[in-house]
Symmetry: D2
Subunit: 320 residues, 4 copies
């Protein structure tokens, strides 16, 4: 059994990790740490887990095999500086602290569809961002094929859980319900990851991605609509996508237009392609908390420990 510790156990990504790992046959949940909730039952925060007899505690790093860091962005590096984790413990960080090459150190960027082999042997993995995952998976095949144009335009619509558990005006129900708004237009922090992923796949460092993030009036899920203008046929492009993802179990290239609820509460990314003249739309849908966060983190754990990549991740879609 893989002994697991989770730091920052009261947040949304930690909650999803616990929900997944509680049913993962190769895992034993040993420590779920939370400074603000120490000693309380897990269910005091994650209310569905009433039947799970676990409480928030400190982590005994000598008694775990893998540490998930679910701390806020900027806090992972600090946590690791303050808490010496033995070399024998693998680390999967869900923040953006180690994703960029300039920050990575020994961390491998945990996109299995780009870096699966490096992840298998990594000690430390930086789990990608939710928007980054959604957009990376739309761009990777074209970048790898040298077919990605310079100008890329992306509208990505995300659910409120991407903003975490802290109540703000942007996540206030009276404001958010039945509303739509843009934020961080052209400047979202995931653009760094996405740019580096395009280059790592073989694309150009000068790719210009106009990314408009949209706050949707739903809780879970991202739909990214990527528009490029391209001289190629839909058949050629579909072929490129299907070949690229042939061996990746969590990415499905659909022959029909995809929609967001196909993947909500699952670890899948569904992609579809539509074309008219030179205009190509690539649509990518993921659950921001699963393939966009905790699900992908478990996928990475599975790879790092030599398990079936899908173990614990055959989740029933909520679908409705």
């Amino acid at each position: 059994m893989i002994r697991v510790g989770i730091a920052g156990g009261a947040g949304y990504t930690a909650g999803e990790l616990i929900r997944i790992l509680a049913n993962h046959t190769a895992v034993e949940l040993r420590y779920i740490q939370s400074e603000s909730h120490k000693g309380e039952a897990i269910s005091s925060v994650h209310g569905d887990l009433l039947y799970l007899p676990l409480s928030f505690s400190d982590i005994d790093f000598s008694d775990i095999d893998v540490l998930f860091l679910c701390l806020g962005h900027g806090n992972s590096a600090k946590f690791l500086a303050e808490n010496p984790v033995p070399e024998s413990v693998k680390i999967i960080d869900l923040s953006n602290d180690f994703r960029l090459k300039a920050d990575a150190g020994e961390f491998v960027y945990g996109a299995p569809e780009l870096n699966r082999e490096q992840i298998r042997t990594a000690r430390c993995v930086a789990n990608p961002g939710c928007f980054a995952t959604s957009i990376n998976l739309a761009l990777l095949p074209l970048a790898a094929a040298g077919m990605l144009p310079e100008d890329v335009t992306v509208t990505g619509i995300t659910g409120s859980t991407g903003a975490g558990q802290k109540p703000t005006q942007d996540t206030h129900f009276s404001n958010r319900a039945a509303n739509l708004s843009n934020y961080k237009v052209f400047t979202h922090q995931h653009l760094g990851e996405i740019g580096e992923t395009v280059v790592a796949a073989g694309g150009s460092a000068t790719t210009d991605i106009a990314f408009v993030p949209v706050r949707g009036c739903h809780t879970r899920g991202i739909m990214s609509d990527v528009v490029v203008r391209l001289d190629a046929s839909l058949e050629q492009i579909a072929d490129v996508f299907k070949k690229y993802y042939a061996t990746h179990p969590f990415v499905c290239v659909s022959d029909k237009p995809v929609y967001m609820k196909q993947v909500v509460n699952t670890n899948y990314c569904f992609l579809s392609l539509q074309m008219q003249g030179r205009k190509l739309l690539i649509t990518s849908v993921v659950d921001n908390l699963l393939k966009g966060a905790s699900g992908q983190a478990v996928q990475n754990m599975n790879l790092m420990f030599g398990l079936d990549e899908m173990e614990g991740l055959r989740l029933k879609a909520s679908y409705f």
Copy 2:
């Protein structure tokens, strides 16, 4: 023109008041006070009012005819103590500070369907609570007819705007969306108003109201389902209701079951009656911010100034 001042201008009920009064032909919006937003444009808080050239300011009490108090519960009495308002200025308070007889002083309980004549001559009016309005209007005809049984059971489902503008876990979109929960079960603060209204109408002081307030996953609107067991025919009861409300323009007794969106973004209360054997369901729907707050406040202002009761309140329902 009636010169209006609003204290506590940044909250939800103030926003609704401004939206209504900006189009009220007999009103001039003179002062909209907000401590936290003084000097800012109204639209910095109430984002739809981009075209309204007004800013938050202090109130010159010598330059207004009526003062609306949209302060938080408990703050109205304090505000009046600190700000001497001339006798010539009428006051309409939207908090619960003066609703109960024990607190009222010169304040009249502003339920036009109970106290219309007193409101016409009142200087000060305590505007009823949103749940209270919804439930009062369901109970008044039976209470007045001496037909209200001792045991009353009410489930009232309310939108998030009833909780105001301050973000909390209960109004956090990720929690509230697609969710239902109860709160203040059997102990909601509006029970006091409701009990006094029943008595004022002629009902019994020992009426036992089991009230379960429910947080719905919508923003605007209350549906109250009132169940009693009663020895009378549906025809008799319908007759009692229709007679009671015959002269009240904002209450409609429907022959078909009512639903909440019939009244959202209007000042109406719609009621319907359904019966089987001795079991009677009275359904009452209102918009919590309008008939349940700011709309009724303007209705009271109209009465206090001798205007058409509906002036400024012929609002287009949003309906969808």
Copy 3:
């Protein structure tokens, strides 16, 4: 491996069954029948199952161990009359055709918390209705203890999936969103099941249940608020509930008020109790498609085949 056939495979309850059984370690999905979609891929209807290489087909009854009937109400009896199912095949019917004693024949009412031992040995099980499950579980302990009063008032708020896949005005998004309405007031068809369950548990045949079903503006989940007036202490009542459900893994009696999203996308029923004076509120939350339909059907299958009652049903809550 238990070989499974599903009749009526295109509906919502069938979709949920397929989602659950595709991951059930003791089950082989053999035949998913649909007249209207014969020959099409499962994913043409259940869009999330893009990766599941199954198509709609006829059922070879000699090649299955259990048959799930997911046909519309009234069609199960007809289907069984037209399709001779061998005695060796167990049957679990999700319609209301065989739930009432007068219709049951050899069908056992499939409420594990009432009839677990009979279900273990039954060939045919009539799976309870969604509202019935929610309300039964709120009433059973009191009925069994002889403590259930004559007058019971229930408001049950349900999601749109309870109405199935056929688009109507009541499930039209423009009507349903941000709306609330009542339906089948005091006459809902599940009242029959509920009444028989109360009696079977030891309660009175004259219990008068005033049930107001409410259409909520969410897709999944039921919250039932049951109000009774009772001479007993909260401690006594809590004790009755906890003892009753001590051995039932899918029912949790919570010390804190429950809310609907605790159980959405799970097979759990969570219950809570609140009291003031003689007024008792029992709140019961279930997912109408799982504990209220397909999840409970699999729970019954597990019992009928001697498996762990929870097998295949340790589902990750969607929670948000």
Copy 4:
């Protein structure tokens, strides 16, 4: 008083027209025609209008001054062929039958911000489409200034009411809630109107608009995000927009990013501009049923009859 007839009175746009015109001081609602509901009360379809004593009837064309056609697309031309309307009656058509130059005949394209003077003297007006209105208003200033680039990329997210009152799988609550999907990708029927508007304003006939329409999980409102790459400063562009709309009362160019609920249940279009390097985002929000349909139709009526352009259209935003 302007005597009004409405053909196709049972649909959503007719409902909104009735709601607006019932409070329009210069209008008398004379005839609301519906084949399927003839003789029924208006409120049998438009449930909020319980207090409006009107019924569906045939239209006496000799007794009206203006006819609104709220029939389905393709049915307006047919209706006019079958029903000879006197020359003295003005016509406002809400379908797409007469919007394109090739179909227009004597119909003027009813975009006041493009054709206000022609509308004032027109007998017949073709009211623009909802997406067309939203996108036209984002493109007009740049097109008129000769600054609109060849490649334009638009994502427009719309509410369910745009699809009308007929229930379908796409508007089925269980499907639509908390979901996102694209439709008519690059081929939406409003592209014709938009292209002609760009040209009429002075733009290029070869402008290539990549338009991705998105079904949002809300009922009312459109947010269109228009991305272009452009060599100009944000100040220059903002100046172009503000000058263009200086005299148009229903279009506001905001200095802060706009969001959809600012305009829901109003006749306004709010626009905002954001830029980074050469990338420009123009965001345009409208209510699809008002500025995108019935509100704009009344705006056109006001212009055609020499009334204040805003008469009857100072609507209280629902905002929440």
